[in-house]
């Protein structure tokens, strides 16, 4: 007879070693995570306001005329209020006791909205991801990154040092930051205005006829990708940095530019200059490169 424990006994011991401390930890913690789910019936073009200082905010469009809020709280020291006032749904995360640590206040929100919803989102740290929402959007963050996909409304994004990525967006875009990087990918927008102080800006999208594209930073790299069939009137100025250009520009079609006395500047038109592209930097580098 073997003195060694059987395989089944070994399995029980291993499982206990994993489960018991975990169960003890869950029981000992007065503030464990939980899940809240709420549903609101809404009409056309509802407005959804989201205030979630710490945590992830994910918003997706769906086909129902309903807003669904799923909140996962890190602890019960944070509460998630969601209420409806006519065609507006307000979602607000707030701390319950005053002495909660920042980690206790985290709440991750997953929100489903009709595709024509208008969004107002405030998030300090965590992150904001929005996809397939076609209404207007205003997003403000401090350190949180912002990612918008397939958005189409009037989009205003403001961060302090959060990055902003806009993929396949077709709305009017206005973005500002101090040290956040911006990436505009596969864009089909007729108006883009983006300014960041210390961040890089990448624009890889279409230049629509009569569109205006204004990209500005203090430092960092501004990179614009173009195809030879694009048509835009270009102005690129870096006061202290360089301007590198791969586009075969002709004389400006619509605008009469005067070379500035200071800095490095480049003006001209690609094809008939149907869009207006204005790139400027204080001491950063501007790259106008052929799209791969």
């Amino acid at each position: 007879m073997s003195s060694q424990p059987s395989l089944r006994t070994q399995h029980y011991w291993r499982a206990s070693a994993i489960l018991v401390p975990g169960l003890l930890l869950m029981c000992a913690s007065p503030a464990r995570a939980d899940r809240i789910e709420k549903h609101f019936k809404v009409g056309a073009h509802p407005v959804v306001t989201i205030h979630n200082p710490t945590g992830l905010v994910t918003v997706r469009a769906w086909t129902k005329s309903e807003v669904m809020v799923v909140a996962k709280r890190a602890t019960d020291r944070v509460d998630v209020d969601a209420e409806q006032i006519e065609n507006r749904v307000d979602i607000d995360t707030r701390q319950i006791p005053d002495n909660a640590s920042p980690g206790d206040l985290r709440a991750d929100l997953e929100i489903s909205v009709p595709e024509d919803a208008e969004l107002q989102i405030h998030n300090d740290s965590g992150g904001v991801n929005v996809s397939n929402v076609l209404g207007d959007m205003n997003v403000e963050t401090i350190a949180a990154d912002v990612a918008l996909e397939d958005a189409a409304g009037y989009l205003t994004v403001k961060t302090v040092d959060g990055a902003f990525v806009c993929t396949r967006c077709s709305g009017r875009i206005e973005a500002s930051s101090i040290s956040g990087n911006f990436r505009f990918i596969d864009l089909r927008s007729s108006h883009v205005r983006a300014q960041t102080s210390e961040g890089n800006i990448l624009f890889n999208g279409e230049f629509l006829p009569n569109g205006t594209y204004e990209l500005k930073n203090y430092n960092g790299i501004i990179e614009v990708r173009f195809s030879p069939t694009d048509s835009f009137d270009l102005s690129a100025t870096s006061l202290k940095g360089k301007v590198n250009n791969e586009a075969k520009l002709g004389p400006s079609s619509h605008h009469h530019h005067f070379l500035p006395r200071f800095g490095n500047a480049l003006f001209g038109s690609l094809n008939t200059g149907r869009a207006k592209v204005d790139l400027s930097s204080f001491d950063g580098t501007i790259n106008i490169l052929k799209r791969d």
Partner: protein, 215 residues
């Protein structure tokens, strides 16, 4: 014909802005395009900052450019610098009383531009080259800035660190732009960037202050 010269006019600026307008001052203004233009700009700053409570108003871009150039060239604030400084200080103190962020940002913006002007203008330098301290404006701004920074100390550490880091970034750009403007006063691009950096700092300070008030 006015008996008042430019210095005398600027000495009584505070009364002028408050609506006490003597016939001598009016006569001087009619005959002095420089004072007229500078006064228009100062008035525009005040109005732009005040109206920031209603909407995101961008003060005229040319304000910084024309104000600084004119004050530098004309030395319009020679004799009673504190009178002028106190007037501007009074304006932004009034606006600081308004709570909404755009108005608060407007107040910070006015303060920043005013301090920038005061520090840059040669009329604030003594003949021996030493700089005369612009106490009322600078002290007021420093106090308000410290106040704004103190608001974020209780915040989420990541957020507080981010705000402090970015305030330092903006301060660095302000210093770089001021240096550029001082080296090349006619460089309008540098002035535009300086004005933009002031705007960013004003907005950041307003955000910090607002966070403190809503906690």
């Amino acid at each position: 014909m006015s008996t008042m010269d430019c210095n005398a006019f600027w000495n009584q600026l505070e009364q002028w802005m408050e609506g006490e307008r003597s016939s001598d001052a009016r006569a001087h203004l009619r005959g002095c395009p420089n004072c007229r233009s500078a006064l228009t700009d100062l008035d525009a700053i005040r109005q732009s900052a005040s109206s920031m409570g209603d909407a995101d108003v961008a003060p005229p871009d040319r304000i910084w450019i024309s104000l600084r150039a004119q004050l530098e060239e004309e030395g319009l604030i020679h004799a009673d610098r504190h009178g002028w400084a106190d007037t501007v200080k009074g304006w932004f103190e009034e606006i600081f009383a308004v709570v909404p962020r755009p108005a608060l940002a407007g107040a910070y913006l006015v303060a920043l531009i005013a301090v920038g002007l005061a520090l840059a203008a040669p009329s604030y330098r003594r003949s021996d080259g030493a700089q005369i301290p612009t106490r009322p404006l600078t002290a007021q701004l420093n106090t308000d800035e410290e106040h704004a920074i103190s608001f974020v100390t209780d915040s989420d550490p990541a957020v507080a660190a981010s705000l402090r880091k970015n305030l330092a970034i903006v301060d660095n750009y302000i210093a770089l732009c001021e240096k550029s403007v001082q080296e090349e006063p006619e460089n309008e691009i540098a002035r535009d960037y300086l004005y933009g950096a002031y705007l960013q700092k004003a907005d950041l300070l307003a955000q910090m202050t607002e966070r403190g008030e809503t906690r």
